[in-house]
């Protein structure tokens, strides 16, 4: 699909399963995203990110030696990170609530449960483009705003989450 702009995007796939890497690359290519690099784990991804611009990371959760959570934290918080704001879509078969929360707290932009479909992958990418989220920087977190909706649109205080308030009270 030339001329859509998708061909200009640089994507990094971080996945230890070769078959999934091939599938993801093919799905991206089918939508016009041909500028795709691959890495087999978080460490290889960091090496790739150090030498090449990246607009989007598709990342597995469970990998060795460096998993997707460690990679996300490194991308978001390391002083060496070339782009701490880069969108990260975590794609995983581990879908229990605690794993999804761990991914969110590491700073992923979206979480996509395996098995994937073309529609589920494309819609996550589209979602990031249509509704880019604010980033939050506080003592314990740097990453996309973890709240999807504003509960009280009038609130203008410094604390973004209930836990932050609790931390304040405890301290």
């Amino acid at each position: 699909m030339p001329g859509t702009g998708l061909e200009t995007l640089k994507v990094l796939i971080v996945e230890d399963n070769q078959h999934m890497r091939v599938l993801l690359r093919s799905l991206l290519g089918s939508a016009g995203m041909h500028d795709v690099q691959e890495a087999g784990d978080g460490s290889a991804a960091l090496a790739e990110l150090a030498i090449r611009r990246c607009d989007l990371i598709l990342c597995d959760l469970a990998m060795k030696p460096m998993d997707g959570l460690a990679l996300t934290r490194e991308v978001r918080r390391s002083k060496k990170s070339a782009n701490p704001f880069v969108p990260i879509i975590m794609i995983s078969g581990y879908t229990e609530k605690r794993r999804v929360e761990a991914a969110r707290d590491a700073g992923v932009t979206e979480f996509l449960a395996k098995p994937i479909t073309a529609q589920s992958l494309y819609s996550r990418i589209a979602e990031i483009m249509e509704r880019p989220r604010a980033f939050i920087r506080c003592d314990a977190y740097f990453g996309p705003d973890r709240r999807r909706k504003t509960v009280d649109g009038n609130y203008t205080g410094p604390w973004r989450r209930q836990d932050d308030m609790h931390d304040l009270e405890v301290r």
Binding site: S26, P87, A126
Partner: protein
């Protein structure tokens, strides 16, 4: 404690400018792109099935090592259905849920439950047509077994 800083989307680099983003997301959400993507998956399904079977062989040799068995089951869950092996994916999903729940309960998984799932995953991964429907039935039966076993474990832990 530092004050929380909110960085709005227009003050950090985006994947694309606003107009381009609208254009790109329209393409990604189009039926044409989704159908082409589905065709890509269909074309890749034979190779993917071979990949699933590689992981099934690794799963069979991992029995006894709960960590490794769980990892392999999650790998299979991750792409069996995409490879067109829906029953394999559903049985793997049952095994993954069992491992995840037992880990949460800090309880030792039952070897019999694991062995039954692994054997059923292996059969379903090589099954064709009629046997695939059998695989669906086996997945349901195993889901009931997991439900009972988890209830038993929870009851034993609360005694």
């Amino acid at each position: 404690m530092a004050k929380t800083q909110i960085i709005p989307p227009d003050s950090y680099p985006q994947m694309a400018g606003k107009n381009d983003a609208v254009k790109m997301s329209r393409v990604l959400r189009s039926q044409e792109a989704i159908q082409r993507g589905a065709d890509v998956i269909e074309e890749a399904s034979h190779a993917l099935r071979e990949g699933v079977r590689e992981h099934v062989r690794a799963l069979e040799t991992a029995i006894g090592d709960h960590q490794l068995t769980s990892e392999k089951a999650h790998e299979i869950l991750g792409f069996a259905e995409t490879a067109g092996l829906a029953a394999t994916g559903r049985i793997a999903d049952g095994l993954c849920r069992y491992f995840d729940e037992m880990e949460k309960l800090a309880a030792e998984p039952d070897m019999e439950v694991i062995a039954l799932h692994v054997s059923a995953i292996a059969r379903a991964a090589y099954a064709e047509d009629e046997a695939i429907r059998m695989g669906d039935m086996v997945a349901k039966e195993l889901a009931i077994l997991v439900h009972h076993k988890l209830a038993e474990t929870k009851a034993a832990l609360s005694d």
